[in-house]
Amino acid sequence: MTATPAAAVIEAQDLNVSIGGSHILQDVSLAVPKGGVTALIGRNGVGKTTTLRALIGLAPSTGSRTMAGQDVTGWPVHRIIRLGVGYVPEDRDVFTRLTVKENLRLAQTARNAGYDRVYRLFPELDQRGRQLAGTLSGGQQQMLAIARVLLHSKPLLLVDEPTKGLSPRYVTQVVEVLKEVSQTETILLVEQNVHVVRELASRVIVLDHGQVVHTGDAADLDSDAARRLLGVSL
């Protein structure tokens, strides 16, 4: 079952990214349908993070990109984000010298902000409001990074390896949160953890050596496919 172009919230055509002499993405074309979670998976270093960064304009690219129905090719980063995109980067990138509260305030762009929802999902952040983000644990920083994009309802979330390096308790919490969020928002999720992918995603796009090699339903991702495409065993 393939998504029709009309229902796609993200579309990329012939995306090429070269950084420092390496041609990281080669003619990547993909479409992310509206609703639910689409997982972008592949081995380490194939260009998954670069794809996300290229989509929002943080990495220079050639080719065309459409987000939320708008052609955003050549747009500055902040303008793309303002279309209603939330970005949770791979290294969390919380502002270590700001407090938790300040990190959230920075992400707040309108008077109405969903602090209720955020504190309900992440009560720890409420307790640690005045703590410097740099002193939080990895899991707590991940909570903060996700909380930032939940303050306002953003139709589209790009989330990069949210469970990387987290203890099982935080992994569970992240998965629960993303599951709830995916009911109202579309998520493009980069993940190495196949179990998380199976739990959350309805569709997968597989990347290898900077190219898209497979698109399909997550349900079809059995152990053979996993071993072949990801080099992991389920």
Binding site: V77, P89, L98
Partner: protein, 300 residues
Amino acid sequence: MSTFAAITISGLALGAVYFLVASGLSLIYGLMGVLNFAHGAFLTVGAFAGWALAVHLSAAGGGAGWVLTAIAAACAGAAVAALTELLLIRPLYGRPVGQILVTIGLDLALVGLLLGAFGSSSRAIPVPAWLSGVTAVGAERIPNGDFVALGTGLATLAALTWFLRQTRYGLIIRAGAENRDMVRALGIDVGRAFTLVFTIGGAAAGLAGLLNAVVFNSALTDPGQGDELLIFAFIVVVIGGLGSIAGSAAAALLVGLVQVYVGFYAGTGASLAQLSNISVVLLLVVVLLVRPRGLLGRAA
């Protein structure tokens, strides 16, 4: 009050002027990674704008002109700074070396223009009598200008701190100094913060240029003053740590005191006239070799 205390106040006042310049430089570098050599031009423009207005006001017989003069200096500096960012720095986004070089070019061109318009001789700035007077404190006479400089420096420090901690743009600037891309990824246009930071720096520099002329140069200003002061401001910024306002404040006081103490206690032999300047330079070298990031700078 002892001579030592009087000298100390003098050094602190000098430090306050350094801080006015250094804070802008530090903010700009912290957020944008640009070493702004054009700050020297902002200083000079501010001093000359203040001079022009003061001459005009005193000719018209005005009395409360001093505050207006100071405002004029700050506004002139701010205006030139904003234009610089918009016209010269923005087009060079992504070329950090080019940005530094273009500020050097602007400094050269602007000071050259002022030299052409006003010549290299000094202009006297009309100041109210109380400003050039002294106040007796104990057995010592402290120049009133010292108090004005100190007061301005403290007020600026307070205002800057408030701005950075309590306002949204202050928040954006603090975050941007750490990670510009992530600020953009939150949907914020950092470009506006860039212009703002240049403008604030320019205003402080304009004010510093005026103060420097009035308090430390017998109310005389010439086109070369800005660049002389700029070198010391750079030394202060680097000693304090690029990007740190608190570091600039601490280093400014340190440098001001060192200069004044060495100048006073090392004697007045003809061959020692520049010793105070040399000692500041040596201080910089020592700091850079022992702690390259400066007193309060971030580790690279």
